[in-house]
Symmetry: C2
Subunit: 253 residues, 2 copies
């Protein structure tokens, strides 16, 4: 892998000037042990291209495990009996049904909420520290939790993944991902300052114009689609609510 | 209860002219055994007001039971062991965690999708045949199912509850109902014809202008809020995407 040297030099210089990895004037700091071997070539070249965007990296740590969101059900969560998978009376599709306590266990899509954090003509992206797509770039986003509004969930994810605060959230895009039973709801959000640094699930955070976005190293198709529509709307300054459907990635076998 | 007589007479007259309760020229038919005692006074008076809106009722049948959507979990759906409710390492809120297979069982809000079906200056409402709020009026709406897009789910609900077909769905409103861990996503939808009749979960369906809507007999606050915003936007002909939060109803104890 070539071309990582300049980045490491730059980061090392920044670290010398910073006592904490989340505070630095030139917004390029904090990478203690960046493993260039794990960076896709296109991403490394994007970084070494150094077109002026700002990237903040965090000390390398062991990646957190990816939490699976299981759909299959073997036992009744209510009474512990083995469940059947059958079409309940009056229904039109199979559900997990408990033959003992009669509970029908419905399973429904989950909502992922996220933000396009905006700051002075750039947007904030996070480089993932966790599977899937570790090392690739994304918007701050994650599952909405019980008890929180969609906007509050999006703000929380922005804080957790980029330690950034966003305000004035405006709903921007809704995408169906039926192949994983998910919907993505993405807000536009104005950052209240340029304060940010990688949270536990991010290796780095950075500010990007359209030209600076590492398009070949975006973690998820839904995020790439969101960003392409967003930058198109930026050209007009009008941001109508977007909807769309993301198809399952083609199998490679 | 007073004031039901004219409705029953009108319905009876319509039935004489109709061989099937879903086909009738004057769109007022099909009520075989309407129980006026179950109708809130305001709703009955709205009906007898007979301001020209069209209502189609279905033969009375036993109401379907309301399916609870349980949050509490006692046993692991994966291995059947008794679960603990604890904050997993690296997390910030309690989850159901299996001490045996180590599965963490996340629980997230559910998305309710619905439609404002539009037909020639009126909208279609359904009178609920099931708890909760049996006998009150609502828009066709229900839980999004795994494997379907939000728009497809909204279309399905419109078919199931009102046997109506809608096209050209446009997202209109998103409401947070954190007190029940739900989000409502409501589309505007053009009916492809005025064909409609009550599905299994509806007692009646009808077309309403703003003045004809039985405002005091709307089943849910989120539906009333949606309709009030919708009719306000109708006045301008501009329908910006709406968001809001519905607070829990005040307790009456």
């Amino acid at each position: 892998m070539t071309g990582c040297g300049p980045v490491i030099v730059l980061v090392a210089a920044a670290m010398l000037a910073a006592s904490r990895w989340n505070v630095n004037a030139d917004r390029m700091l904090g990478c203690e042990s960046l493993d260039c071997q794990s960076i896709p070539a296109v991403l490394a070249s994007e970084w070494t291209g150094a077109k002026g965007h700002q990237t903040i990296m965090r000390p390398a740590t062991q990646s957190r495990t990816f939490y699976s969101r299981r759909c299959a059900m073997n036992f009744c969560p209510n009474c512990g009996a083995k469940v059947n998978h059958q079409i309940p009376q009056g229904d039109d599709r199979p559900r997990y049904v408990c033959p003992v306590c009669k509970e029908i266990h419905y399973q429904n899509p989950k909502l992922v909420v996220g933000v396009i954090p905006e700051w002075q003509g750039r947007i904030l992206l996070c480089r993932r520290a966790i599977a899937p797509r570790e090392g690739l770039w994304t918007l701050p986003a994650g599952y909405l939790e019980n008890g929180e509004t969609a906007a509050d969930g999006a703000r929380r994810e922005t804080w957790e993944e980029a330690r950034a605060r966003v305000d004035a959230l405006a709903p921007y895009a809704l995408f169906d991902l039926t192949f994983v039973n998910q919907l993505y709801l993405i807000f536009r959000g104005a950052m209240i300052s340029d304060d940010c640094h990688p949270g536990d699930e991010s290796l780095a955070v950075g500010f990007f114009t359209e030209a600076e976005v590492p398009w070949e190293a975006i973690a998820f198709k839904v995020i790439e689609e969101t960003l392409r529509r967003y930058f198109k709307d930026c050209a007009t300054g009008v941001f109508p609510f977007q909807t769309g459907r993301i198809q399952a990635p083609a199998r490679k076998d």
